[in-house]
């Protein structure tokens, strides 16, 4: 079976959906970050595939930028997480609701 663009796209969609479910279900902040990484990387697969499909480098460029941004996101995110952990000794989302209404 030839693996065509559609397969990549379907894979992307599936991965993206997994990411979304993770984002919704995970109560652990760290796991949540993982889920967002899955989201971004799912898209990266597509970008690369489409870029190849069109024979155009823009998609790959986009993918690189996404990777870079994902990395910096992790940097910021982990920083926040560590501070939070220091203060509260947990990284559970449900504890994070002092502001409401």
């Amino acid at each position: 079976m030839e693996i065509g663009l559609n397969h990549y796209l379907v894979l992307t969609t599936i991965l993206f959906a997994i990411g979304l479910v993770g984002v919704m279900r995970r109560k652990n902040l760290l796991m949540l970050f993982f889920a967002t990484e899955i989201l971004l990387n799912a898209v990266n697969i597509s970008f690369a595939a489409i870029s190849h499909y069109y024979g155009d480098l823009t998609g790959q460029m986009f993918a690189f930028f996404v990777i870079a941004i994902a990395a910096s996101e992790v940097a910021v995110g982990l920083g926040l997480l560590i501070v939070w952990h220091k203060k509260h000794n947990n990284i559970d989302l449900d504890n994070m609701s002092t502001m409401r209404g």
Partner: protein, 640 residues
């Protein structure tokens, strides 16, 4: 002449303002004397005008200044002294001068002496405006002005609940009628383009009969209120709460006759609509009987006289309605004299009896109050219509009118009423002045009134006796303005039978009343006698239950409806809707703010949910795009 006109008109106002200056201060005789003197001046001026009108036949017409002018509407303060208004002016100034002088004595001990004269003179001023105005709007000024003064004077003793109640009743009932009047005025304006009598009446014959009928009806509704015609009559009897001079002046001689004056004044209109005229006459006859019947049993001296006034007003309307305007006006004049006299006499009795009003508690007063006795008796004779006193000439004339015009029902009603009139008048006289001295049971020591009060009354006495003799002069004068219909019974035999028959009938009624009420058996009724328990008596003493009907069904329901409007509709529906709308927003906020639970998971779920919703909508749309035609129509319907 203009000078006299203005003097006649404005000197009461000056008097009123003068008395008002002392309104809040202690009683001072000056506050009574000056207005009386000014009224005397007004009387003299009126007399001069009368003489001038009589001699030259020329009327005086002045326009003082513009009152309202806008669009096509132009209303001046214009005054006219013609044959009709000068008659009224004479009546008004004469009676009020007498009453003023009388009241100086009558109100001697009252704290509100100054205030009283201020109101009283203001009343005279309004009345003068009413009768002298040359247009409907001016008439309305006076009309409302007398209403105001009547309110003030009925409620003069404002600490008395009954007095203030009666004052308000009078005012409000009059207002109901005034609305009719106002509508009548509007009709006149929009159909004739003016409110000046002269011009409006000139155009009227060219108008449609329907319009004229409505005009006549609405104006007459106004007259019904002021002249207390059924069903707006209840206020008049209650108005007796006011001081007696007020009753004499306002509720007997002048204000209540304003309605008659209006109909007389509007004679060119009513001539065009005989059907309305007939209605007026029928109502007048009905009221004459109706009021007389209530007077038969009433145990309040002033109320009896008030009903008698009402009854006489009925006569006047009967005459006016039948087109005999000059007759109505003549009766108005004569009635003013003897009725005022009667009231003032009653005032003397009241003073003597320390404000006791029940004639059953009096009796035998002729011994202590000779002067008053004579005056009241003569006034009653005049009222009863015995030859040759004033009442005979005017009242018999009305009977003749009814007869000649072939309205035999009206005629017989009026005839019968004449008998009743004689009966109740002399019932009163007999109870007060004759028989046993029942007042002694109550420990009252009656005394005659001040001399000068009696002197003040004497002009009225004189006029009550001789007014009839002016008939021809008067006729000559007013018929220059009013339709000069002479009413002659065709055969002189019939005439004599009628006249003598009427006289006999009346005389019989008088004798019967005397017999019945001078007897020694008369006791103060205690509600046990057979008569007092019979249905007719109850019906009459309760005034046909009409006041109670008004109280129970109209006043009460108005009050209850108001309460419902306020508490139920205004607060529970109108306001609650507004607050409800505001609350819906607020409550929505309160309910849905939980959406913002502060939990990150929930927030993320919202985001994803939003996206998924949009996505499914997009898919739906993508599918629908194939069937786009219908959908576009639908969406454009949404205003998108």
């Amino acid at each position: 002449m203009e000078l006299f006109l203005y003097t006649a008109l404005f000197s009461p106002l000056v008097g009123s303002l003068f008395a008002a200056l002392f309104g809040a201060s202690k009683k001072t005789k000056m506050a009574g004397i000056i207005p009386s003197a000014l009224l005397g001046l007004s009387l003299i001026s009126s007399f001069v005008l009368l003489v001038s009108v009589l001699s030259s036949g020329e009327t005086v017409h002045v326009e003082m200044m513009t009152w309202m002018a806008t669009g096509d509407l132009y209303i001046p303060f214009g005054f006219v002294v013609d044959q009709v208004s000068v008659t009224m002016m004479m009546v008004v100034t004469l009676v009020s001068t007498v009453v003023h002088v009388y009241a100086i004595g009558y109100m001697d001990h009252d704290k509100g002496f100054n205030r009283f004269f201020s109101y009283l003179s203001a009343f005279v001023f309004s009345m003068m405006v009413l009768v002298m105005s040359d247009n409907f709007a001016g008439l309305f000024i006076g009309w409302e002005g007398v209403g105001l003064c009547s309110w003030l004077l009925i409620g003069f003793w404002y600490h008395k609940e009954s007095a203030t109640w009666a004052a308000n009743e009078a005012f409000i009932m009059n207002r109901i009628a005034d609305l009719g009047m106002l509508i009548g005025i509007f009709l006149v304006y929009w159909n004739t383009g003016t409110l000046q009598y002269e011009q409006a009446f000139a155009i009227m014959p060219s108008l449609e009969i329907d319009v004229l009928t409505w005009m006549g009806i609405f104006l007459f509704i106004g007259a019904m209120g002021k002249s207390a015609q059924f069903p707006l009559h209840t206020w008049l009897a209650d108005a007796m709460e006011g001081p007696t001079p007020v009753s004499a002046l306002i509720h007997a001689a002048t204000m209540v006759t304003a309605g008659v004056y209006l109909v007389v004044r509007a004679n060119p209109l009513y001539d065009l609509i005989p059907s309305v005229g007939l209605f007026i006459a029928s109502l007048g006859a009905f009221v004459a009987l109706f009021a007389a019947s209530m007077a038969l049993v009433n145990r309040d001296m002033k109320r009896v006289i008030a009903y008698s006034t009402l009854s006489q007003l009925g006569y006047m309307f009967a005459a006016a309605g039948l087109g005999a305007y000059w007759v109505a006006l003549f009766h108005l004049m004569a009635h003013a004299f003897f009725k005022a006299l009667l009231f003032l006499g009653a005032g003397n009795v009241m003073h003597a009896m320390h404000d006791e009003l029940d004639p059953f508690k009096m009796g035998g007063l002729n011994k202590v109050m000779k002067g008053t006795f004579v005056m009241m008796t003569i006034a009653s004779v005049a009222l009863a219509g015995i030859f040759p006193l004033a009442g005979f000439f005017s009242k018999d004339l009305i009977l003749e009118v009814a007869f000649v015009e072939n309205h035999y029902i009206i005629y017989s009603v009026l005839l019968f009423t004449a008998g009743l009139t004689a009966f109740y008048s002399f019932r009163l006289v007999a109870l007060i002045f004759h028989g046993e001295e029942r007042y002694k049971l109550f420990g009252i020591h009656p005394h005659e009134a001040y001399k000068f009060m009696l002197v003040a009354m004497s002009p009225l006495l004189l006029l009550a006796i001789i007014a009839g003799s002016f008939k021809m002069t008067y006729f000559e004068m007013v018929t220059k303005l009013l339709p000069a219909t002479e009413y002659h019974v065709h055969s002189s035999l019939t005439y004599w039978i009628m006249t003598i028959g009427t006289q006999l009938f009346v005389a019989f009624a008088i004798v019967y009343a005397y017999k019945k009420y001078t007897s020694r058996d008369i006791k103060v009724p205690d509600g046990t006698s057979k008569l007092e328990n019979c249905f007719c008596y109850k019906l009459l003493i309760n005034q046909y239950y009409i006041p109670r009907f008004y109280e129970d069904y109209i006043v009460k329901s108005y009050r209850e409806l108001s309460e419902i409007f306020w508490t139920k509709i205004d607060q529970k529906i109108v306001d609650a809707t507004v607050d409800g709308i505001a609350n819906i927003f607020y409550q929505t906020g309160e309910r849905t703010r939980v959406m913002q639970s502060g939990n990150l998971s929930t927030m993320l779920k919202w985001m994803v949910a939003g996206t998924v919703t949009l996505l499914s909508l997009a898919v739906a749309f993508g599918l629908a795009a194939r069937y786009s035609g219908e959908i576009k129509i639908f969406l454009s319907g949404l205003g998108v």
